[in-house]
Every structure is written in C-alpha cells, then in structure tokens.
Symmetry: C2
Subunit: 256 residues, 2 copies
C-alpha cells in the first residue's frame, strides 16, 4: 500500500484544499472524516475516490474498499493536517460531490426542508440529520446558507447527506414550484400573529423554511409562502435554537 508521510506531498496539498469552499468547487470533491462516515459512505455506495488510513487504524481490516477507489496510508501528521477535528480517528475519504443540476423542484416528492441564510454549521448539519430522521426527502440550501460540504457540516450531518436529496439553489423558484403543485410551503417567524405550528395538520408533500439564527427568514420570502408558522414561547426564553425549532416543526408537520 502506498504511504504518504509528508504534508508537502502534492496529493495531500490537493486534499487539504477540500477544507475550503473554493477547493471543493474546483475539484468537485469533499472530505469525510471518521469511521462512522467512511463506513456509511461505503455502505450506501457513494462515489469514493480514495480512502486514507493511518497504519494503526484499528478497523483497517474491516474496510471494504469499493471498486475503483484507492486505499492509501497516511501518517499521523498528515491526518492531523487534513482533519478539522481535534482528535481525528485515523480514517478519511475523498468523495465526489454528487451532480445536482438534474434535481428540479417540479420533479420531487415528499417533505422538503428549505434553509434560508442559516449560518452555523452545527445547526445546519443537525437540521439535515433531523430531516433524515423525520423521513424528509430532501434539503435545499438557499442563498446565504453555509456550504453543504463544509467539514463542520459534514461532521454534524452524520452521513444523512447520503440518504437525502441535497440541492443548493435560490429558494424562490422552489417555493413557486411547490405552490404551483398545491404543496404547502410553510415559512417560520418569531411572531405571535403567525399560525401556531400545531394547528395546520400533517402533510405528505410540503416544504418547511427555516431562517437565519439572528434575523429569521428573509422578509420577501415570508410573503411568498402558503402560511407562516410560529412556535409559541411559554416561558421567558427569547427564542429557540433554530435546529431545535426545526426538529419540533418537522416532527409535527410530517405525516407518517
């Protein structure tokens, strides 16, 4: 097996650039970090290009390298250089970013989560993971929302990107297309005049829009929705964390 020991190796330099949005766009790939993610990517037959392991990685024998993918040993210092985490597990993979141009709003079904300018990678990843758990079909990363394959988002999605359709696109055409098909598009706002979230029934085909952590949803988009929802705050907290609010709404709105 090929061994790379230097962070100055040209391949390591190229991989390292996948930690930036620019690098991911240019190469059309992203990094998986950790055994859970690499194993799940193998299981769901993602287009893995290379798997990188430390020589003493304890699950080395369990790695079923997909056809066409490479397996390369990298030393401790290289793992640390590539990994965004404090305590890397000693296994990573380079995966091709799926083509998404073919996903059109007119052709999709089920429940969709639209993110409008959501900023925090942990919140975004947790929302994707929760959407997966709630049985959603896909996510649209709207304008201003952090990049899907940001390492922190990838970590907190915990592999749910393999289970859902992932689209990066402006939300407006998606909102219009859903409405044209008579699928409700629910906006959210911290406004007691909006409709309480538990009074709109359960739905099979719909979209839920979550907004920015500090400022909420874009005002123009709020005007385009079918209905805007509100989670009543009973106590004295000023608001809910956006990922918690998204979880409450997704599990409330989705028909099983």
């Amino acid at each position: 097996m090929k061994i790379i020991t230097s962070v100055n190796n040209s391949q390591v330099k190229a991989w390292s650039k996948l930690n930036t949005k620019k690098g991911r766009l240019k190469q059309g790939k992203y990094l998986l970090d950790g055994w859970h993610l690499v194993k799940e990517a193998i299981r769901t037959r993602e287009p893995i290009e290379t798997i990188m392991v430390q020589p003493d990685f304890k699950h080395l024998q369990e790695i079923e390298v997909p056809e066409g993918a490479g397996l390369i040993q990298i030393t401790d210092n290289v793992v640390k250089h590539l990994s965004d985490t404090k305590h890397p597990q000693g296994v990573m993979a380079v995966v091709k970013i799926p083509e998404q141009q073919t996903i059109e709003p007119e052709d999709v079904n089920g429940a969709w989560l639209f993110m409008d300018n959501v900023q925090d990678p942990g919140n975004i990843g947790t929302m994707v993971r929760t959407a997966d758990a709630a049985g959603f079909s896909g996510i649209v990363f709207g304008d201003g929302t952090a990049d899907v394959y940001n390492p922190k988002i990838v970590r907190s999605m915990q592999g749910s990107q393999f289970h859902l359709k992932m689209v990066t696109a402006p939300l407006e055409p998606w909102i219009q297309a859903f409405k044209a098909q008579n699928k409700p598009v629910f906006g959210t706002e911290l406004n007691p005049d909006a409709r309480p979230y538990d009074q709109v029934g359960k739905h099979a085909d719909f979209a839920l829009i979550m907004g920015n952590e500090g400022n909420g949803m874009n005002k123009e988009l709020l005007k385009q929705t079918s209905l805007n929802l509100y989670i009543p705050i009973i106590g004295k907290a000023e608001s809910l964390n956006v990922a918690v609010a998204a979880g409450i709404l997704m599990f409330q709105l989705k028909a099983n």
Copy 2:
C-alpha cells in the same frame, strides 16, 4: 472607576479560576460573558458581585449597576484572558451561584427536565433554553452531567438559568418523589418497543429524563420511570441529536 490592566492582578487571577469547576465550587460564583447575559442578569436581579467592562464598551452608559455591585474597567488583554469566547464583547460579570440546597423534590410543581449524564455543554445549554421556552419549571443536573456554570453551558443557556429552578443532584430521589406524588416520570430510549412519544397525552406536572449522547439513559434509571418514550425514526438516520429530541419531547408533553 478602578482600572485593571494586568492579567497578574490578584482579582483577575481569582476571576480566571471561575472558568474551572473547582474554582466555581470554592468561590461560589460564576462568570457571565457578553451584553445579553449581563443585561438579563441585571433585569432579573441576580446577585451580581462585579461588572467588568472594557473602556470602549459601546453600551457602557446603559449599564444599570445594581446596588452593592462593583463596576471595574478591564483592558482588552484582561477580557481576552477571562473570556472563553473567540470574540469577547467587552463586558462580563461575576455572579453568585444561587443556593440550591433548599429545593426539595417534594416541594416543586410543573414540568421538570432531568439530565442523566449528558456531556456536551452546547447540548446541555440548548436543552435548558428550550425547557425555558416550553414553560418548564426546573432542571435537575443528574450524576455525570457537566457542571451548570461551565462557561460553554452558560453561553448556550442564554440566560435561561435566571428563569428556571436549577438543581444539581442524583436523579433517583427525584424520580421516586415525583412518582410518590403521582406525577409521571418519562424516561427516553432509542428502542422501538418503548411507547411512541405522541401517544401519552399532555401533562402539567411531570418529569422528562434525557440521557447520554452516546449511550442513552442509565439502565437502572430506565427501570424506575413511570414509562419510557421513543421518538420513531422514519428515515435512515441512526438517532436524533439529544437537544433536538428533548425539544420535540418537551413541546409534545407539556400542557399549556
């Protein structure tokens, strides 16, 4: 106004120790960091001992220093030394930790969140904030759960510790006391044989127990609950984030 410019100042050394559990226990105080928290502590009349500000803090004129509290200027380097955040806002406060020995499970009302060995400070703080929003009355930090006044927890509670009763205690006597008063105690487990969470009605007086991120609730405690609940996973995610699960459960179970 007194100005402290050195991190070697004895008062700064004492404050700095409040970033550790040992220091907080010894001094019986903790640190608030940022304008939102300091302002909320003033508004809710917390026992503030000292407010520390940078000379150029933009809300300096708005600070209503409580009677008996000190106001001290600290320089940039001192703020950076004391703050746990990357971008401190230039205002902090030292607050006395409330006496909690007087809160007995026999004497409380309403909905309570019990935390069993929850580890991540961000999850813990978010759960406290959500409990506040859902109209809960108090929180019990059970064995193994990170310390309430950990700086990261304080940051993510966003002041909700001022609105709720906060107790650190073993959970078993609290479970027994609630049950003795015929208040349901709901455990949680990732087990499809447990009761679906949306089939147990809404309650005014009850407890909800959330467990460890990786291992769930303690097996012995699961046997002592009134009933254990499960959030059905519809998609392919293995689990929900504990703070998201807690939010879904608290809003589902709490009678308004």
